[in-house]
Point group: C2
Chain length 217, copies 2
């Protein structure tokens, strides 16, 4: 009737918190398939493995369709396939890595990207002593070349492993080059346009979240 009613019809707005759990489900399902050889599972089993209630898993999945069968549960392979489709992992995302320090080194050698939908296609650093070095099969390039390379390869995803002082400048460069998703290891909040996703990974923040709960002697 009203505009609002019409809008509500296409109200597929999935809560961010639900999206955030899907990769974890995917991880657990892969584990069940590969390590335990399971072909089928249930919301109960999956929840038990992750410390999540079975109701929550069913509710989360119900946002996207009906993937299970009453009495039987879910076919692991099928659910994995569906989750990959939902999360847009049914393609390979080209990723740029910025920062060739110890952390950049670790990320460049991490074997877990390929099997899970990502491949690092460029490594950048502005330290001349690092440029040219080969890391994980790729040469480190100067940051000056970042915009051209990212544009040309249509890179939409970047991992930021640079010091805090450089993080915002590099972020602006990335955004300018068309990057829409940034995983940042710098201990600082990044300002980006609304259409750019950012996730943070600061080990100290995570440690500090835990010490609150510890007995102090």
């Amino acid at each position: 009737m009203t505009d609002e009613t019409l809008l509500d019809e296409s109200d597929d707005e999935i809560p961010d918190i639900v999206i955030g759990r899907l990769p974890v489900y995917l991880q657990a399902l892969t584990f069940l398939a590969e390590e335990e050889g399971k072909l089928t599972t249930s919301s109960h089993e999956l929840g038990q493995q992750l410390g999540i209630s079975s109701a929550q898993i069913r509710k989360d999945l119900s946002h996207f369709g009906e993937f299970g069968k009453q009495g039987t549960g879910y076919h692991v392979g099928y659910l994995v396939e569906q989750l990959r489709r939902i999360l847009h992992l049914d393609r390979e995302w080209r990723v740029a890595l910025i920062g060739a320090g110890y952390l950049g080194h670790a990320l460049a050698h991490y074997g877990g990207f390929g099997r899970r939908g990502f491949s690092i296609v460029g490594i950048f650093d502005n330290d001349p002593t690092k440029v040219g070095q080969v890391m994980g099969g790729l040469p480190v390039q100067p940051v000056e070349q970042l915009p051209d390379v990212l544009r040309q390869q249509e890179v939409k995803v970047a991992i930021l492993a640079v010091p805090a002082a450089a993080a915002q400048d590099i972020t602006d460069l990335l955004v300018g080059a068309g990057v829409k998703a940034i995983l940042s290891y710098a201990p600082i909040h990044l300002n980006v346009p609304a259409d750019v996703q950012v996730r943070y990974s600061d080990p100290v923040v995570q440690l500090q979240q835990m010490t609150y709960y510890l007995q102090t002697p």
Copy 2:
């Protein structure tokens, strides 16, 4: 009147989600003080820097006391001090690092721990070719020595940088040695007793959370 009423009186139960934000506030305050030279700030300014509403910041802090002054805002140094006290960061936490691969290397060399309440006091790996190597000033020790060393030094915090296949076994070892907080980089859910905190850091999970929102070409 009832037991429950008495219990309610000491109802200081702070939501986990609030605790989770405090380290981020701490980070932003440190930035304001060190980079911008601010002595004073407001919930509005802090919120703007973090993309969080000012009301939420005030509400979060109000769980622990009154740290600001109407009309003026917060004294940065005082608020930092209080947050550090609340989060039990007014002491130095000894941390064990397990895994001396590329990631362990990066963590061992990370300079951000000391200033923010943590210090790595032991590095462990079960690869004989790595044992004895010096990383970030510390020798890599065999995992066999982990229980004794951790008990002796009263280490309550550990960082897990080992392959998924080894993660649960090492976790059990850590828990057995009295560790109460684990930051895990392994892409697998860990089973621990209720009094042990765990946080996960899997770069692929974080990337996968973002691709949902990206246009697929």
